[in-house]
Symmetry: C2
Subunit: 327 residues, 2 copies
């Protein structure tokens, strides 16, 4: 991607509307309400991007309370940080900018922009490290990789985590095929990851999420690489619902299951995955499609957005500065 | 269900159009072309129902070649038997009626109708046996069950296999909740199983397929019960794609993973699951929804309809006459 997923332009935050993909549309977030709404509706999603948006959102709040009402800025910051509960990056981004707010709106914006640049650098670094790990474990022949949801440039600023690893391997001619879980209910895989792979000219096939474990069992997949929304102190990984099934299948098939995430996704406060709040989203996301009801009117849905992959199923967690694993 | 999924009426086969559910619509299959088309488009689906449709289809062919052209009937029978490759019941149903064809169209129809009645009895019997097994393993408190795809009355004649077990347990007050995997790409869970559960007044929640393993890991599910499209000689189970992930999660959580299927689903000729042809369906089922493209135009899909669950992950296979398990 030569464009950035989100950036500061003049007096507002400019973002790719990820609900519209594969159609490209950018929208302007001009108020804190806009920011909170964009997070809730997944206009912006992906743990690293949420971190940057949290930071830019606080900068926006500081600008709008340029009279110096710090309490009002802090109240806005709280609203932003709690717009979604699971990705730790969001509150991390908010907290990173808050101290600068006391020095005025320009200082807040500078701090937020620094976080944005740091994210871009972190993703590039962890992508190289993840690629090196997979080259060593699976290579040197071109490999079939499976991924889930979107942990690409559109989940970050301009490079990506799991898809950054894929992109780095592709640059070395080491990607034969990427299997992309469509990622129900909101289809971030089919809509967003596939769009990025098309742009990068990387061969790929979209699969229904339920097909991932069975395809891994056939021996068709060399490694799985995914992002994370939060990594607990014991290295349990909280990521998009469906990740756990891929990890179970990878362990049984004996292939690497690699998590690519910046250090800002690590949460030393949560002792394990069970301690992390898993967001439950509106059942209508499951029961309707494009405004059309697919289930009977009397039926309800259960719609957890994430699941927990225990650390013993994770081959490695790759960050911009290190490789973590339990054993 | 007080109506039958498929039956012989006057001079044709009358079936519920399962592509239209949750809207109810019956269609008449008047020619062998109609039958082959109905199988290919999943107007009729579900292993036991396919067996009965195969039988009725041969009876229809015999009637249309009442001049006694047995070669023409056999050619029609071959077309029907090969309309889908994975469910063994289809060819089983066709083969069961072929010997009667030599005695004329009425004898063929009588044989097909006998198979239909046998299916109804078999499902009722295996449902009682499966319910007894789960009552013993999980009960006596009301349980949370998870299922996938549709192995209910609409997959059979008028009772169901996996959903027959649920129905029998519900009759004893032993079902607290059923979690139904929506079953992408064609949503047989959200559209068909949920419709049956509404009709039976059984509490249920629809989930995306990717959520099943993670919910099992939280301890929220007491047992998984599914149907099968083919059971190999070593008791590997071939069933709707997504079954394998539920089996992996069940094994790790230590909960029963039960397969409910009539004896006609057992295939002693296939030594193991890997020997069974897994149907690959059109990628458009994944890439489009309701005629609306969800992935980029340049993307393609891989769309296996089934996966293989190794026998060591299966707690028990319950048929109308016995309980099978590997260990």
């Amino acid at each position: 991607m030569t464009v950035r997923t989100l950036e500061w332009v003049d007096d507002h935050i400019d973002v790719v509307d990820q609900t519209a993909l594969p159609q490209w549309r950018r929208v302007a977030l001009r108020t804190v309400d806009d920011v909170v709404d964009a997070i809730g509706r997944l206009v912006v999603r992906g743990a690293p991007a949420l971190g940057v948006l949290g930071a830019l959102g606080v900068a926006l709040a500081a600008r709008q309370h340029a009279d110096g009402d710090l309490d009002a800025v802090r109240a806005d910051a709280d609203r932003i940080a709690s717009a979604r509960p699971t990705a730790v990056n969001l509150s991390h981004g908010v907290r990173a900018v808050l101290p600068a707010v006391e020095r005025g709106p320009d200082a807040a914006l500078a701090a937020a922009r620094q976080l944005l640049e740091d994210d871009a650098l972190a993703c590039a670094a962890l992508s190289r490290r993840g690629a090196a790990l997979l080259r060593e474990r699976v290579g040197p022949q071109p490999m079939v990789l499976a991924t889930h949801c979107n942990a690409g440039a559109l989940a970050c600023v301009d490079w990506g985590t799991a898809l950054g690893v894929v992109r780095a391997l592709h640059g070395e001619g080491l990607v034969r095929m990427v299997l992309v879980g469509e990622t129900r209910p909101l289809l971030q895989g089919a809509r967003i990851t596939a769009t990025e792979l098309v742009a990068l000219d990387i061969p790929h096939r979209v699969i229904v999420d339920a097909a991932g474990p069975g395809l891994i069992a056939t021996g068709a997949v060399d490694a799985v690489v995914v992002g994370a929304d939060r990594v607990a102190a014991n290295l349990d990984v909280v990521n998009k619902v469906g990740t756990y099934g891929l990890a179970l299948a990878s362990a049984r098939a004996g292939i690497p299951f690699v998590v690519a995430a910046p250090e800002s996704t690590l949460d030393p406060v949560a002792p394990d995955g069970v301690a992390v709040t898993v967001e439950e989203r509106d059942g209508a996301e499951v029961l309707q499609f494009g405004g059309h009801r697919v289930a009977p009117a009397e039926s309800t849905a259960l719609n957890p957005a994430f699941d927990i992959t225990p650390a013993d199923l994770v081959t490695a967690i790759v960050t911009e500065s290190r490789v973590l694993h339990r054993t």
